[in-house]
Amino acid sequence: MATEEAKAVVPESVLKKRKREEQWAVAKKQAVDAKKKKDRTNRKLIFTRAQQYAKEYESQEKELIRLKREARMKGGFYVSPEAKLLFIIRIRGINAMHPKTRKILQLLRLRQIFNGVFLKVNKATMNMLQRVEPYVTYGYPNLKSVRELIYKRGYGKLNKQRIPLTDNAIIEQGLGKHGIICMEDLVHEIMTVGTHFKEANNFLWPFKLKAPLGGLKKKRRHYVEGGDAGNREDYINELIRRMN
């Protein structure tokens, strides 16, 4: 009897609320469907891009080999162009630093020991590196290094928060407006130092690497002197393997 009464006299507020919730449910369903569609098309796009990049990297490698062989055959040498990309790792702690070098390390986003960042090579950055050489080691990362760093230790800066890159959606949210929508796009942008390298790099939170397995040789000396600091060119990759 109570239910009959209730059916007869449903308060207006309840009716309104029901209607509202129905509308919301419809809108939500539409949004979900739209998102699904978008995700599907995105996925295809990501696939084709990844394929294209894989081809690109392969062809670059082959090209390098070819050029070297050619030069060798002719009795000369092939000098590959200077690297455009650097990976810097801070190898010293925070105590007893000159304020200017401290500031430069802050600008490079290396605030903690064994933090790593990618860096574009130009006169400005090279000069900065010169100032902080005793505190960092740096070199030219290869594709495997870049890829592994971003996949394993990649975190993005969204809303000033350090968000793990567990999904391409996160990258799209952060860098979608530059056409970077997935991990492979990001890797490609960093690797080839594209037009939006700055944004892509800044999106990446500084890498927090672990202390190198097997240890460092001698922090206070330059690499060239048997230590660890400064430019170690391609051998940075070996260090990254041990620190990633």
Binding site: W24, I46, K152, P164, T166, M183
Partner: protein, 401 residues
């Protein structure tokens, strides 16, 4: 307050002249003033200090004795006794054993203590308005503890014949007619002895407060005293107002309160430049506001899904997360593109041989043939096998002839 009845009926009393039409009286705006118990408490506390008389201990207290102190107890101190510093440093005043009034060691109370408090006029008026407004809300008055079950209506307005009352008996009769007797009786029955030392100051007995009867023709200051209205600094005292016909205006409003406090629109006549204070929220019914159409039109749907922190898995180790990030690697890992796969199959063993020669690595498959003869030599044959990628040892087959 939004939900206030606009009209108040005046309770007729015995001997009331029927000629005066008293059906309904519009509520004065004071009673819609915001109820601010915090303001009332503050003002009440301050104002109730104003009737205090100063008191203090006698300035001779504790000194009217001939006892002397034995002096400072000898104690080692870093300052030599001869230096002026030692003379001036006062060691902790140790009362000697003979010092009778140890209380003198703490500073005696003085009459010039600040007994009275000044309260801003505006706040005072605000508090009175608040208290009046609260007295018009039955639930509040009940909550304060008044017995109001038999009171016919809040706000309790009585015709002005009540003002002509001379004897207590007739006053009680009026209370009976109005239903205020239970409250008055409660007050009378509540006489009790005051706990504590105040008894020594002739404040031996305490009572509950009954109804407060307010005459219409008495100026505000004595009638609507906040200390009375909000006695015990709780607002909502049971207030019985009398209706004063002599100042009846054309519209029949209770002019006294309105002229005293003004309305929300008009400023008060009696109090210079005073306008009733408005409440912070005009409509304090939150649920009504939230569920109103205007608000709901603009409101977003309720977010029911909770986003929780997901564990980051290493894509270099975890295939699933890797594929989530890079779907291309799926095909790359497990299959070659169809054309290549077909080409390999078609090429067959020949391809294998070319692969060997190209890559210069030793790939062979060993098959042992056991010959059923007495001779003990085992034939080892190298056989090409189909394979897609070069491996070091492909297959060892044991075959019997």
């Amino acid at each position: 307050m939004a939900a206030v009845r606009p009209l108040v009926t005046v309770q007729p009393l015995e001997g009331h002249m029927a000629t005066n039409a008293l059906a309904g009286v519009p509520r004065p705006d004071v009673l819609k003033a915001p109820m601010r118990p915090d303001v009332v408490r503050f003002v009440h506390a301050s104002l109730s200090r104003n009737s205090r008389q100063p008191c203090a201990v006698s300035k001779h207290a504790g000194h009217q004795t001939s006892a002397e102190s034995c002096g400072v107890p000898a104690a080692p101190s870093p300052v030599s006794p001869a230096s002026p510093a030692a003379e001036h440093t006062a060691p902790a005043r140790v009362p000697s054993a003979t010092c009778a009034a140890a209380a003198v060691c703490s500073p005696p109370t003085k009459t010039w203590r600040r007994w009275h408090r000044h309260v801003n006029v505006n706040i005072r008026r605000y508090a009175t308005a608040s208290a009046l407004a609260a007295s018009a809300v039955p639930s509040l008055v009940l909550a304060r503890g008044h017995r109001i079950e038999s009171v016919p209506e809040f706000l309790l307005v009585v015709s002005d014949t009540a003002e002509g009352v001379e004897k207590t008996a007739s006053a009680i009769k009026i209370l009976k007619q109005v239903g205020a007797v239970p409250d008055a009786e409660k007050a009378r029955d509540s006489q009790g002895i005051r706990p504590g030392m105040r008894k020594m100051r002739n404040r031996g007995y305490i009572f509950r407060m009954g109804p407060l009867i307010v005459y219409g023709n008495i100026p505000m200051s004595s009638a609507l005293n906040l200390v009375e209205l909000a006695s015990g600094d709780h607002i909502d005292r049971l207030v019985i107002l009398t209706y004063h016909p002599y100042t009846l205006k054309l519209y029949g409003e209770n002019p006294k309160l309105n002229s005293m406090f003004g309305t929300f629109d008009k400023s008060s006549e009696k109090k210079k430049g005073y306008v009733l204070l408005r409440s912070k929220m005009h409509n304090a019914d939150l649920s009504m506001i939230i569920n109103s159409d205007e608000v709901q039109l603009v409101v977003q749907p309720i977010k029911k899904d909770v986003k929780r922190h997901t564990l980051k898995r290493n894509p270099l180790k975890n295939l699933y997360t890797l594929l989530k990030l890079n779907p291309y690697l799926d095909k790359k890992r497990t299959q070659l593109p169809k054309e290549e796969a077909a080409a390999i199959k078609a090429a067959g063993p020949a391809r294998y041989k070319t692969m060997i020669s190209d890559s210069e690595c030793l790939v062979f498959s060993i098959s042992f043939t056991f010959i059923e003869s007495t001779s003990d030599d085992h034939r080892m044959q190298v056989e090409p096998t189909e394979s897609q990628c070069p491996v070091h040892v492909r297959r060892i087959t044991l075959t019997t002839a």
